[in-house]
Assembly symmetry: none
Homo-oligomer: 405 residues x 2
């Protein structure tokens, strides 16, 4: 329905994602947002519409993929992004309609009568530096399998991402191939077998790749094999431009979020530097060029994952100090939220609803005094599914016409 | 989706159902929960996540069946339990895959040219004692119809439940048989006719049963016939163990709730006695043996149905006094809620959302001061569909893994 109501105009929407912003009490019954000293956010909260979004469903803890798809307006249950794609995006590889993305684990195998037997599924968790050296060797040795281009990128410890780029766009269901990880040591790696006609061809390329990789890695003491998991294709998502007429860009520092933004058709902007200041500079430079800006701040999540609530509080306070620079741009709609909660006490993502602040001339406001979990609960937006946030952003920027007469 | 995210662990969930707990103002604008003096619940409410669940849908008043299915995690619209099944469960009969359950009404008929004509559809609402005597006579006279075992149980006044147990499990749609109640006096009872091949065989047995029952009852002055309604089969529900890996038990006193718990695969525990103390004793004894405990307190509903708000207040206060014994067990997740509201002013079930309290280390808390309708509205859980309560219980007991990467 939403798509049919779109009326383009020149108003600008800025979506700020403080990754993993939602929290739980960490000290004196207060959450990270409640502890943080945030005079600018407090003032903004008083004038804004507040609420909480539910990323996927009650009780469901989202990964970064579903968390972002939701706030971009894509039902995260309907559009599931394969593990291989997320791994590839997270390591900075691009993925296209022609591609199969795969998660790889370096492993140690022994050959008995010519058959590989897995001795260590994680190659003794080799150091990341070691991984980089080995992956570089593979990159140089295997650039193509027949007419299929091979892209590799080292991850942490024993992990790597593999992208196989075919000459033409692949039909749907081309990645229906089983994981080759036998899950237990002492077993042979499984053969990659396609479940349908489309994936047979891909599986053939994968077999050749594994053969070549084993040869290149043969003399490695630990990482002499690669186990493959999460074969996947780029999900078919209509872009924000196609759906809502939004010319959108992403100002993110980490590869995963750039990748997720690219999946929904955002222009991904290079940020020279890693700081919030660097990101805001880019935002200012581009302000005339786009309708929709996705500004992704990562560190709130990182500290939450580490259980470091003081660190999370400091990032929130740092963002608060930068907020006036953002407000100076006078976005018609400014949303500040997260993709999910990352309470420091849980040291990980959680299922809890996520605070949302929406600034626009067309809100009630004055329901709450701060941008915190408890104050957002008192706000005018209530608790709503994340995938409806796009409706609210479009409506408040007057980009939606009336439904029915 | 939920089922795919299950990760078993040793945490324990206790679901306390105060039947019909939700209310409306009865005195000085206060509800039963607001009038009750509940120091223990008040303290617990401050530390817990609060909200309201919507049993079926806005404005929909649930029976006990849909009310409980919802909070057990089964969509009450998708899984509808036949009236015959509920009547049988309520009167303490068991129902199996081999069974057809039917609601019966004793009626008065006159025979004209060998044809029965209904004179009183409720046999003058005979006293329950009279019903018991007559039903006992039937039980002794009709144990089998061919190879089908017959179970009967007297209800209140003119009502009874009938279970026909066939030698083998019945195929689906075996209970598609019309009610025999002609709805008006002066008419003949309707023939029970199967609507499909599966139900023809059942209808034949029913005809023979009616014939035999009429003979046994022929000399009764009032209850000389049985009208049948609500032919039904046991619904196919996956158990809580199959769906969520939960080893679950029910500590309930009334047959209906034991029966509903058994439908979702809970072990139904015999409680020696009727009091809340008796139920808590059993709970303590079994604490090591299960992951999920359903503790059902009936009397809140009974007093609500009678319009006796003082009685309902007293049961709430009694439960409050027992609460510390329950808390001593240190459940990882404790939920206190109802299956529906039963406001004393309505003397029956109602459509109003039902207060929910969820205690866990992973909540915000401090949103509200008491466990009442108005205070629950201020809580962090918002108003949510009853069927999502299981998501919240599983998430807070850390039994759900992350969705997507």
């Amino acid at each position: 329905m939403l798509e049919h109501l779109i009326q383009k105009n020149s108003s600008k929407i800025l979506l700020v994602v403080l990754d993993g912003i939602g929290g739980l009490p960490v000290k004196d019954g207060k959450t990270e947002l409640e502890i943080a000293n945030t005079p600018n956010l407090d003032q903004l909260a008083k004038e804004s519409a507040l609420g909480m979004h539910l990323p996927v469903d009650y009780g469901i803890t989202p990964g970064s993929g579903p968390g972002h798809l939701g706030i971009f307006g894509y039902d995260p249950v309907e559009y599931q992004i394969g593990r291989g794609i997320l791994e590839a995006l997270g390591l900075g590889l691009t993925v296209r309609e022609t591609d199969i993305a795969i998660r790889g684990n370096y492993a140690t195998v022994e050959y008995q009568n010519g058959h590989a037997i897995v001795k260590d599924r994680r190659a003794g968790r080799i150091p990341t530096e070691e991984n980089r050296r080995i992956t570089q060797k593979l990159k140089e040795s295997i650039r193509f399998i027949d007419d299929v281009e091979v892209f590799l990128e080292a991850g942490m410890e024993h992990r790597l991402a593999i992208v196989l780029r075919f000459p033409q766009a692949l039909p749907e269901n081309s990645a229906l191939i089983n994981d080759t990880d036998p899950q237990k040591e002492g077993r042979s790696p499984l053969e990659p077998i396609g479940k349908n006609e489309q994936s047979w061809r891909v599986a053939d390329v994968v077999k050749k790749f594994l053969q070549r990789a084993s040869e290149v890695l043969r003399d490695e003491p630990k990482a002499n094999y690669i186990l493959l998991r999460g074969f996947s294709q780029k999900p078919k998502l209509k872009s924000l431009e196609e759906r809502f007429g939004l010319k959108a860009c992403a100002i993110a520092v980490y590869p995963m979020y750039k990748g997720l933004a690219s999946l929904v058709g955002m222009d991904v902007i290079d940020v020279p530097g890693q700081s919030i200041d660097d990101q805001i500079s880019v935002l200012r430079e581009l302000w005339k060029d786009y309708d929709f800006f996705f500004l992704h701040i990562k560190k709130t999540d990182s500290y939450g994952e580490d259980g470091n609530w003081e660190g999370k509080v400091k990032v929130i306070e740092e963002f608060d100090r930068k907020l006036p620079q953002i407000l100076e741009l006078k976005p018609d709609v400014l949303v500040i939220t997260g993709d999910h909660s990352t309470p420091s006490v849980l040291k990980g993502h959680s299922w809890h609803p996520v605070p949302v602040l929406l600034k626009s001339p067309y809100v009630l406001g004055m329901t709450s005094g701060r941008f915190t979990e408890r104050e957002c609960l008192r706000g005018e937006l209530g608790i709503f599914p994340a995938k409806k946030l796009i409706n609210l952003m479009l409506a408040h920027s007057l980009k939606l016409s009336k439904f029915g007469a």
